[in-house]
Amino acid sequence: MTWENSAITIATLLPLVGALVIALVPRQYDKGVRALGIVFTGAALVFAIAITFTFDYGASGLQFQLDTRWIPAIQARYHVGIDGISLPLYVLTFVLSFLCAIYSWRVVPNPGKTKAFLALMLMLETGMAGTFIAFDLILFFVFWELVLVPMYFLIGIWGSANREYAAIKFFLYTLFGSVFMLLGFLALFFNSDIGGGVHTFDIVQLQQYAASGGFSHAFQLIVFAAVGLGFAVKVPMWPFHTWLPDAHTEAPTIGSVLLAGVMLKMGTYGFIRIALPILPYGAQKYAPWIGLLAAIAIVYAALACLAQKDLKRLIAFSSVGHMGFVMLGIATLTSIGINAAIFGMVAHGLITGMLFFCVGSLYDRYHTREIAEIGGGVMQKLPYLGGVFAFVAIASLGLPGLAGFWGEVMALLSSYSPAQSLSAPLFRAFMIAGGIGTILTAGYFLWMLQRVNMGTLPEKWKAEAFGDVAAVEWVSWVPLLVGIVGLGLFPGLLTDVTQAPVNSLLGLFGA
């Protein structure tokens, strides 16, 4: 067990250990439990940062690999590793979880039960992080499903008024997609042959087998649909997005942050890691459809946002739109497109995570999410909160100089000249739709800011003694704010990491 092969396993499983430890602590040590939450997420983050420092950015292929026996009866192995595509998302998971743990120091939503709350959050962290490092289809699936139960309980117990409906809808919808994904994985297994009729679940070996032309075209079309369905529901792609507004709106603040910040990325990551390289023909044939659905998502989500009265629901729909840009980048099957997608994922994680934090803090004070109820004047009443909110909203609409810009512009750029096998005019039409979407996005965000931040403060709030941004909130937000500006000014920080592995992935793909 060296650092090389155990680091990512330890980092991923540490939160789970933390959940068990927290479960054993007696109930009355409430602050102690919150401190433990911060300690464990912090420790895992330290490991993740150490991994980024010991990562070899010049090398290609997987690093920190561990490939051992797990379930011989099924021929599933415990194969984990990390490369430039996984690394940003992996670190994002730990960063957001750590910040959520800090945010929880100040407030754990109704009805309390801090132990269960933090234990579930830590279980969620393990599931999310594990998905980004798993290189065996069954291991990937187990981590993928692992996030469903904690999120179901987080929404169902600590959510707002309509939480039970939102929770069960989220669970059933996502599970429905996942089971077809599982059947797709099994089909891949039984059709793979790494020599002597031996089958494999290993993603790396499947990629090589696919590159050598192992899977027939008809097979790829069917299996891409099955596997793609599971990923599409998670992303969520239009029209499989209907679980998202309810889930995001009803979830507690940190539930929304982790759901939007990391969990959605599991779907798009699945496309990049599994669907595209292992089923290249299927990817080429379905790419125009994915592009179409992405373009629709961008415009549809923007229009839906314009109609929203609930602040949190508005941000939830904005997530659908942003993921539309990410999927558009993926659908182009080009290096720029996939780099754009990963950039967009990380940027969205930082920005929308931050947006949900802001809305959560607003709700803590105003006890309402209705825009009409809030009425305006947040800038006057809570200048710092209003300022941060405005900053993040503007980052989300894609202002150049901030993180959101690069993901969007690179996606549109890649859409102008998609891969050789795809129809350029079609994708340029998508690009135009994306452009229109950008304008509408700016529209709804600015209009929202006008209605919430600006204008006159309604009478009923004048007397309320709301504290402005608290110290704990600053501590949990500053890293995100710095990240948003940093990535906006220095996009190379991220694209340098993802460039090489994306190129080698597309090389396998042969597009």
Partner: protein
């Protein structure tokens, strides 16, 4: 016939039979306040029988002219049945002691039923199978009606009995036809004769008699359209009896069915695999969709076990000429049965713990249980989520093995797999109904629930097993492939 009886081979059964007689006799001499002592006696007997079974591990024995065989398959199921017997005894103890029941008679009857369960996986002879099946069912008829003053319990017993004897009659008819056709009762011999081409009329009769025999076992495992007795019987019977019926009784039915289809009738697979496919689809679909409507917990679990029987029937529909697939299907079926029994027994244990709350236990009666009895609430959540097939719990791996062999088979297997996955998603909504009440909804009273210690122990043990196998499936998945009957 002067064949020597291999007493070592039947030692577990002998010990259990001795315990049965002892329990009945001792009960006659116990004072009314001491009747509960029958349970520790029964428990000790089952433990002794279990030890005897362990000593047989590694042996391959055959006695009674080949009608009774001890091999890995038989030993796996014997160990399983005896373990389930221990757990059933544990959950029955307080329930029967505090209700106004005949205790000694109950333990006598339930152990007799378990004796039938022990005989079933060793039965390689039609007559022996029939005897085992009846030995499992007959005491079941009586103990289902054990709550004598309750009309529901009487209804449960009568329904079970009438369905049971009707199915047995049909099955016996089929068995006698097969005997006439093949000239033998021995399963291996029947398999050999049926593998050779038969004259046209005889072939048709063989197929028809296979159908009759399957009908008898389909009743036992509550497959559609033989499932009508199950919900009413489970609901009316005392809850430990329902637990027994849902786990041991059903598993015994499957053990018999596995032996029949894979040893006696594998040659006719083209005929009966579509029938099993239809049975499987109907059973899981009807079981799941009717379960969605249920408000009462025991009925919910009854329909859940009907649907789970549908999943367990699926591997039968995948049999083909390919021995590798047959072996995988066999192993998948066995693993599913074992895991299913643990999950369901645990869920029933929790219901027994709650049994004092109200007689017809509703799902809404579980409200707020997470505050009142956190350990039991967590255990129940584990069982419900596992039954729905969510990783990383044991139920997921059980379903996964079935999916795997279905996709491996291709063709009808893929269609069946798709139907099973959709059913699994649907089932989640009713499985989550109970945890939802326990965790999301506040209860009316706050006083802690005091559950009998043995019942809580069973619930905790079962939930630990479910989580352990879920995290490390190799623990369990190692054994079924070793106990295959395919190619014997």
């Amino acid at each position: 016939m002067n064949q020597a009886i291999d007493y070592t081979a039947i030692l577990p059964e002998l010990i259990l039979a001795g315990t049965i007689v002892l329990v009945l006799v001792v009960d006659a001499f116990l004072a009314p306040s001491r009747k509960w002592m029958a349970m520790p006696l029964a428990f000790a007997g089952v433990v002794a029988s279990l030890i005897a079974t362990f000593t047989l591990i590694g042996d391959d024995r055959s006695t009674f002219g080949g009608a009774f065989v001890v091999d890995e398959f038989a030993l796996l199921f014997k160990v399983f049945f005896l373990s389930v017997a221990l757990l059933v005894l544990m959950v029955s103890f307080r329930y029967f002691r505090e209700g106004r029941f005949y205790q000694g008679e109950f333990y006598f009857l339930v152990l007799t039923s378990f004796l039938g369960c022990l005989l079933m996986p060793s039965s390689r002879d039609l007559l022996m199978l029939f005897i085992s099946l009846e030995l499992v069912s007959a005491p079941g008829f009586v103990i289902a009606a054990f709550r004598k003053s309750d009309p529901r319990s009487n209804e449960a017993g009568i329904k079970f009995f009438l369905f049971g004897v009707l199915s047995t009659a049909v099955m016996l008819y089929g068995m006698s036809l097969i005997y006439g056709l093949t000239g033998s009762l021995n399963l291996t011999e029947i398999g050999r004769v049926l593998a050779t081409p038969l004259p046209q009329g005889r072939e048709t009769m063989a197929l028809a008699s296979i159908l009759f025999i399957v009908a008898g076992f389909a009743f036992k495992v509550s497959a559609v359209p033989f499932q009508f007795w199950a919900p009413d019987t489970y609901e009316g019977a005392p809850v430990p009896v329902a637990a027994f019926l849902a786990t041991a009784s059903k598993a015994a039915g499957f053990a018999g069915l596995l032996q029949l289809m894979f040893v006696a009738f594998p040659a006719q697979y083209e005929f009966w695999t579509p029938i099993f496919a239809v049975l499987s689809i109907l059973t899981m679909t009807i079981g799941n969709f009717v379960a969605l409507q249920q408000r009462q917990v025991v009925r919910l679990l009854a329909y859940s076990s009907i649907a789970q029987a549908g999943y367990m029937l699926l591997p039968f529909a995948l049999v083909s000429a390919n021995p590798v697939i047959n072996q995988d299907a066999f192993a998948a079926a066995v693993t599913y049965i074992l895991i299913y029994a643990v999950m369901t027994l645990g869920a029933f244990a929790v219901v027994i713990a709650m049994a004092k709350e109200s007689r017809g236990l509703l799902i809404t009666d579980f409200a707020g249980l997470s505050r009142r009895a956190p350990v039991i609430a967590v255990a129940m959540t584990v069982f419900m989520v596992s039954l729905a097939g969510i990783p990383p719990l044991a139920g997921f791996w059980a379903k996964f093995l079935v999916f795997q062999v279905a996709i491996q088979r291709g063709g009808i297997g893929t269609a069946l797999a798709i139907i099973m996955v959709v059913n699994s998603v649907v089932s989640l909504s009713y499985y989550l109904a109970v945890p939802k009440q326990m965790l999301f909804v506040d209860g009316e009273h706050e006083r802690p629930l005091v559950a009998p210690a043995l019942v809580t122990a069973v619930a905790v043990l079962a939930s630990v097993a479910v989580v352990a196998v879920g995290l490390w499936p190799e623990l369990l998945a190692h054994f079924p492939p070793l106990s295959t009957l395919v190619g014997q």
